[in-house]
Symmetry: C2
Subunit: 661 residues, 2 copies
């Protein structure tokens, strides 16, 4: 293989400007605002101190413009949805408890009021929400229903005699659980409950329910429990809410999608209960997108610490060299960190695309339902892939720093613990990947976020029209690349971007087609819903693979588009190699599939492994540049292992020379 | 495939008796002793409370016979090395801080005194060590040298004028770091330092150095720092020790392997400094073996919680069934937990073999050096594989329990956090797997624990005589199985144990042979040590794979031997299927290699994936039995999700029936 050399002179700034993208100015201003000790980590605090610090920081944040970004201008906001999500992503460089608490207040609670409520709610609540005068909760999940929220069991029964809703927890499994802001600070909650009016169930709706007096004591009929210590995110006060016949006025219903008249008559522009609920849920995807973004930020922070450490920490002598070998010069160490770094870049660009799409769709008046569904599906997929990547990579970064990586002062433990729940909150990743696959099988037309396996199987069986790969980013460029790439047999084909894209597209198409045929066969051979379920269940790993293959391809396209945007030719060359590493390490991890399906020969497959090694070696001198380009405020990288190591090494060297051999 | 049905009537007891093995009686008595609240977890405590609780529990433990097991009868011990290690493994069911603190006191500190010291040390110290009157530390690792301990830099210079050693930390990187028991409780430390006498360096030796007065204040010249909060294991007080010209008497030297006469003359029965040091290290492998064992216990605990939860937690309706579907009925959920469960069984049996070998070797007078080296290598390999398995599996168990798995009360967070460091302490796993490969390349003759990559490369190049697969457990049985297995082409071959063993042996042989040829070629083409290093480094992933392939084969043999020991025919059938799942999920994960090297056809490879699915389905009804067989004291499984869920579900069901549809 004969790859062009990457010029040694590439500096981080050229990369930062590609990474910063459309919201570059906002990113820069957030970096400046976050600098200083106000937004310090909470690593040495106990649970209560940590909660107090995070609340204080949240009040600091409320004084800035950022919480207003996502809200309507009419109420003091900025109508900048993308900027709002981006600012959550940037908060992810700091204490993730603050990111989550801010996400609960302004993203979930504020978002529910804005997107599910109407003018009367906006006028009354949006300003105090933005100012944090009214701290709130988003009370959807219950002890018994997390993934399957459509079947949650809290009830809201309308009483026409008093024109009130009665909010009730009919049994312990219907208790609201893991609710952020509930255990200590929340005054009000957006409670999701099954609406019952005129003796009929109308599906899940959201209600604004006061849960605490201003003095902090719970409202009558509201039982508040504390979820206690968690693996991480201990600056967030998660709690449990149980309602005993709590009465709220008729206008507590967030009634954009469904209204109850004074006499109890129910109206809605959406007839089906399920469809209405998933339409409501769909408006709330900013939370999911923000989790993906901040998982990315935390991963970048961990990689920056580990790469810097690998660049100064030495162990074992190499003969003929007075210095010991730098950890990052070992191949095994490069393999632990560099493919993960390449993937972080890839996911960064995919996230950027996702936020831009979200901004454009939610910011425009008339959006085809299909585009909205597609956006939801993309958000689900990127959230799943990004958060699993975070869990794996932060773990690898911890191990790459040895015992030092285990000390709280070196920041990796809290990064690991805080992000751990990301894989299962705001949608369990396994369930989310299923949703992605379902979207692909139904071309988004009648596709809602109904996550039940049966719905997936039925839709697939009834509606699948054949696989159509729809390119997402940089359509024309991708087309050119693919067209210019003949079926090449030489080793260099591995580095041909068109060949790579074709391989990813082919995998997606083949896997998806296989799933569809499997589910269809089942549906045609049996009318029995029960056995359709069994077939679905037998194919579950196949379904998940389809979702994954799709996301990988979308991520690659975003990387290709970003490289195309890069104006600096040297930086472009570096990004090109990094993209190769993303692609080839992805193929390497999945090469059993490519071999089994005749997409790679044994020789080509071995060449992929060699190419990953070669790319690691070629990129190794640029590792520091690549992490520095994330431009994480230095205060969040102040781990003593990174700060002190270089000094210690020099000391050691001097002393070593002074000791008798 | 036509596998025999597993009888429904297999109960946990028959399995427990296979699992309990040679030290069954000890295991039973430890279970009884651990029951009750004395040995409760420390999940709700802050760092200082947790340290206090663990110290108190350690004193409780000191009153039992267990800490004495590993010491010589002459000093009140029991000469039961295997029992001693086994009791650490059992401690792994409880608070891992206690296990680690006990390991530091009796395994590492006590072990150093017993194994590196002589009669004068034994008489003076062993009793107060066993009784915990003398809490001690094992001060080997330094800030600058962890994996490469041979090059640590603390000095111990003999001063014949006063017949004292002067212990000194010449510079910050030589500071002792992460030392358990140092920050709060230790009174004395076994300090590893470069011995200098008569102006000559004699390599690393251990010295007993008092670090604190009885009132807890540090000794003059000893600076003690606290490592502070860690990701986990916060009941252990890790600290840093810096020595400023601290004088200790001549008999502070633990002088079994090297002696310093009053005039400073140095004598040793082992001429080479390196060889002497690695001989000393070799005696201390009990610590590494104990870490592997307790990692296994923690993994079993996490799997038990996750499997029990998966057996009662339901989500999403299946049509035609009033109940929602149990999590463990989903294929994706089975795949998260059941192959890991099979691997836990496999590693359990391998650990049992390892402990028995350790017991027999360390308990006998004359042991060939080769057998000792082989034992060290096996301990290294099983420690690496077991602790990585723990990290991965506990993570999967956490995710399998969703948000509930993130709450401290449900125990998984502390299991994850506490075991996280196991992959890098008592030997970094990457370095340990290299050691395994080196042992295989040099047939253990001149093989010491010198972990430098160059040593590995040189040894391999100079000494490799060709691969010889030496069977470890159940030699004759394995031989019979392999001989009875012709090169089968039918699908059922996947379930033929002989075919499986042959496949594992073949992989090991092929990988090892390839590494050896690579390193040899390099050595013959160049005399330049520097380029030998480069070749080694280029082959590092290949070397690690060789180590891994060897360990996998040894683990499989141990599983086969254990099944053979099982007297209950029904239980045997169940273990047989579980072993299939271990083997086939291992092959599945590595099937790219088998495909690339022509060991599996595409069709056979796909059949492996199907077989794993089928085995998951077949074993699913036995999942609860398989975890219950670990016989973990119920108090350590008292996670509210497991205890409360069944009740909540029944409540929910009743309420559901009462609500209008």
């Amino acid at each position: 293989m004969d790859l062009p050399e990457i010029p040694a002179k590439v500096g981080p700034a050229a990369l930062t400007s590609v990474l910063d993208g459309r919201w570059a100015e906002l990113r820069r201003s957030v970096r400046t605002e976050m600098s200083g000790t106000r937004f310090r980590d909470g690593i040495e605090l106990d649970v209560e101190q940590h909660r107090a610090q995070v609340l204080e920081q949240l009040h600091e944040l409320a004084k800035s413009d950022r919480p207003r970004l996502g809200f309507a201008r009419a109420y003091g906001g900025a109508d900048d949805i993308g900027g709002s999500v981006m600012s959550f992503e940037m908060l992810g460089f700091g204490d993730l408890s603050l990111m989550v608490k801010a996400g609960v207040q302004w993203g979930l609670f504020g978002g529910a009021v804005q997107l599910l409520g109407t003018a009367k709610h906006h006028e009354r609540y949006l300003r105090p929400i933005m100012d944090l005068e009214l701290p709130g909760c988003f009370a959807m999940t219950e002890s018994g229903h997390g993934s399957d929220v459509q079947h949650l069991r809290t009830t809201a029964s309308y009483d026409p005699a008093t024109a009130e809703f009665v909010i009730d927890t009919p049994h312990p499994a219907a208790r609201k659980d893991y609710i952020g802001n509930a255990a200590r600070d929340g005054r009000m909650a957006a409670v999701f409950a099954q609406l019952v009016t005129g003796g009929e169930r109308r599906g899940v709706h959201a209600f604004l329910v006061p849960i605490r007096h201003d003095d902090g004591s719970p409202m009558p009929g509201v039982l508040i429990e504390d979820c206690g210590r968690k693996a991480g995110l201990n600056g967030v006060d998660n709690g449990r809410l149980t309602f005993s016949q709590v009465r709220v006025p008729r206008d507590a219903l967030l009634d954009r999608y469904g209204q109850v008249a004074e006499d109890g008559t129910y109206t809605s522009s959406i007839e089906s209960d399920g469809r209405r609920f998933f339409t409501m849920l769909g408006t709330l995807i900013r939370g999911r997108v923000s989790v993906a973004g901040s998982a990315g930020s935390a991963t970048k922070r961990a990689l920056t610490i580990a790469v810097r450490y690998g660049e100064i920490r030495r162990q074992f002598n190499r003969p003929g060299d007075p210095d010991e070998v730098l950890l990052l010069d070992y191949r095994a160490h490069q393999r632990k960190l560099l493919p993960a770094l390449a993937t972080s870049y890839a996911l960064h660009f995919a996230q950027e695309e996702l936020v831009a799409t979200l901004h454009d769709i939610q910011g425009s008046k008339d959006v085809e339902e299909e585009r909205q569904r597609e956006l939801e599906s993309r958000a689900a997929g990127i959230k799943a892939v990004s958060t699993w990547h975070a869990t794996r990579t932060i773990q690898a970064a911890r191990e790459a720093c040895g015992g030092a990586g285990y000390l709280a002062e070196n920041l990796l433990p809290s990064l690991k613990a805080d992000t751990d729940v990301f894989t299962t909150f705001e949608g369990d990743n396994t369930v989310l990947l299923q949703l992605v696959a379902k979207g692909l099988l139904t071309s988004y037309k009648d596709h809602f976020e109904d996550l039940s396996p049966l719905a997936t199987a039925k839709f697939a069986a009834e509606q699948f029209m054949g696989v159509v790969i729809e390119r997402t980013a940089a359509r024309k460029l991708i087309e050119r690349l693919v067209d210019a790439s003949p079926g090449r047999d030489d080793e260099d084909a591995l580095f041909d971007r068109g060949w790579q894209v074709k391989l990813f597209e082919d995998r997606e198409e083949h896997v998806l087609d296989g799933v569809a045929r499997r589910l269809r066969r089942a549906a045609s051979s049996s009318d029995d819903a029960f056995s359709v379920f069994s077939v679905f269940n037998d194919a579950q790993d196949h379904v998940l693979r389809a979702g994954r293959a799709h996301v990988d391809r979308v991520v690659l396209e975003a990387f290709v588009a970003a490289i195309d945007r890069c104006a600096d030719q040297d930086a472009k060359l570096l990004l090109d190699r990094l993209c190769d590493l993303y692609v080839l390490s992805n193929i390497e991890a999945d090469r059993a599939w490519f071999l089994e399906h005749g997409r790679l020969t044994s020789a080509r497959s071995k060449a992929v492994v060699s190419a990953v090694n070669e790319l690691c070696a070629q990129l190794r001198p640029h590792a520091r540049t690549l992490v520095d380009a994330f431009a994480i405020p230095e205060q969040f990288l102040a781990a003593p292992i990174v700060a002190g190591e270089e000094q210690r090494r020099q000391d050691a060297q001097r002393a070593h020379e002074a000791t008798p051999e």
